[in-house]
Symmetry: C2
């Protein structure tokens, strides 16, 4: 590849080097026709805009770092796709790293991501993250948006779901179908979505005058495997539940499978509600009744809030809770025979 | 944040600036105890290693660009997680961008990714990609590994599945169960996995002396929606199939749902085989018989092959086809009543 410079392109096309530079960055101030001529010639010449050098000049890297605990959970894959789409539309590329639920790996990942000097960072923290774990990040002053999971005591932009309200909708629906022995499957106190959904469960039951039975709560990470194990434990109880709210759709899928292993079926012998509404939910058999958590909107909003913060670091922090929707499908049904609660 | 330099850390800890620099990069040549002292002090001082500046000095950015057509397909989310894990273990971070099946967006994304000067790139191309579409990338000399989908006539490292063999296993299994009217659901000629799986279908039938019936092929992108539409079209034929091989698991899930809409069930009235073995496959009801395409291994190998290419650009190109495995589950069953083929 021949080494070419802005100068060569500028001279060839009889425009200024500033115009060439702006055209290569796809700036809206350059006329479309000029931009196309510059970009075509640049491509022919094999010219690659050097972002490393440019970032030292402008102190912008046009990268948004994304630190998520997990992307194999389809919920977060869908959120990530929305973040990437919105960032790309704004001329930024995603720098991605994951850490599972390991605080140690998260610390390492966040340090590494910062080294690339992204313009900002979108974060869904690992379980157990405390304010102190984010101290180096907060001290660095890098623009930051938290997504889905929120760290207590940290004054940062945040976009998530109104998780307590979402589970509240699920409880209202199940109680309306006649259920009173309702289990809470998965969810943990060590992250905010787990706490909020558990709170929604407790408050939802209380609102209907149903006493809380700790035996019906099965705290665990929201995985297919844990959902399956929890439903088996729940149905082995002396006075088993007739319905369950699950921390997320993955746990709900596991629970529906667990029912089948026991010769039972969601929507017939037992009612199951999920949380998230991933693409898979509407496709299950029976289709999963679940709380829609708007992953498209969440990802897009996170990217937009971060972009606003990068432009104006002094903006007041924003905390956006998206309103959940209950998607009633076929995994829930009226209680067939009423049981007398033991409590 | 106070502005600190390597010098300050070096003087405070009475070590050389070279040691500090290596310790901050987590170099194995620095004693673990020294590394910890340096890293702790650096963290306390809010020091962030500047990768932009470092990349101009070393011409390495420690970024691996990943261009995938889609990450909401769980297959590619799982592959991406494996790539990220392996890259992170080797000290590199993922720069991610997606483009759906749009050649225009792919061209833009690939140009943008190159501007960040990643050390290398892992690519799963959009449908319809020709050698010419990759010309700017090839001319740039950036180390590149193709994953899953392969571009004809391009001499690049590649890791994928032996897709024709995988579908061959599926055909053998279905024929062994007595099926002879076997549909091919989804898959397109415009990308290599589609072509190879279609070839596996044709060759598999031929190997069993079953004439090819073009009416039984339903080319389309491998989505849940297309799988559903295809099974409905297939069962509306005058001489419908009794089994189907699907291009991927998503299409298979859609097809299983389509059967239910028609009052039929996979594994009872009809046999369905998927391709990929995503996490969801074993959990469906009935659990999906499918071809395992080893996403963990594929992602890890792609990262490793790329790392080798970055270290030694002159290595001969490698083409690795992973051997698929048929996971026999509950969505396939012996043919109940034999039909006479119309062909």
């Amino acid at each position: 590849m021949t080494r070419v410079t802005l100068q060569v392109i500028a001279e060839t096309l009889a425009v200024s080097t500033a115009t060439v530079s702006l055209a290569l960055r796809d700036s809206p101030v350059v006329a479309a026709e000029t931009k196309e001529r510059v970009q075509r010639l640049a491509a022919e010449l094999g010219y690659v805009y050097n972002r490393s050098a440019a970032s030292l000049r402008t102190a912008r890297t046009n990268m948004v770092a994304v630190g998520f605990h997990d992307i194999t959970n389809p919920y977060f894959a869908e959120v990530l796709a929305a973040v990437e789409d919105a960032a790309m539309a704004a001329g930024r590329t995603i720098l991605l790293a994951t850490y599972g639920e390991s605080l140690e790996r998260q610390a390492r990942v966040l340090r590494t991501l910062r080294e690339y000097r992204p313009d900002g960072m979108i974060l869904c923290v690992a379980a157990g993250t405390q304010k102190e774990d984010l101290a180096p990040l907060l001290a660095s002053g890098i623009p930051l948006t938290q997504l889905s999971r929120e760290t207590a005591g940290v004054d940062l932009d945040f976009v998530g779901s109104d998780d307590a309200a979402g589970v509240g909708l699920a409880i209202d629906h199940l109680v309306g179908l006649g259920h009173r022995r309702i289990a809470m499957i998965c969810g943990m106190d060590s992250y905010s979505t787990g706490r909020a959904r558990r709170r929604g469960y407790c408050e939802g039951l209380a609102a209907h005058g149903i006493p809380l039975d700790p035996a019906l709560m099965f705290p665990a990470y929201g995985t297919r495997e844990n959902g399956l194990a929890a439903i088996q434990a729940a149905l082995a109880l002396p006075d088993p539940p007739t319905a369950a709210v699950c921390f997320n759709d993955l746990a709900a899928f596991g629970a529906m499978n667990g029912l089948r292993h026991l010769g039972r079926e969601a929507g017939r012998d037992f009612s199951i509600v999920g949380c998230d509404d991933v693409a898979e939910a509407a496709q299950w058999f029976p289709a999963l009744t679940t709380v829609r958590n708007r992953q498209d909107e969440m990802g897009r909003l996170a990217a937009q809030m971060l972009a606003a913060r990068i432009r104006e670091p002094g903006l007041p922090t924003r905390r956006v809770l998206l309103e959940p929707l209950l998607m009633v499908r076929a995994s829930t049904a009226p209680l067939r025979e009423r049981r007398v609660a033991t409590a």
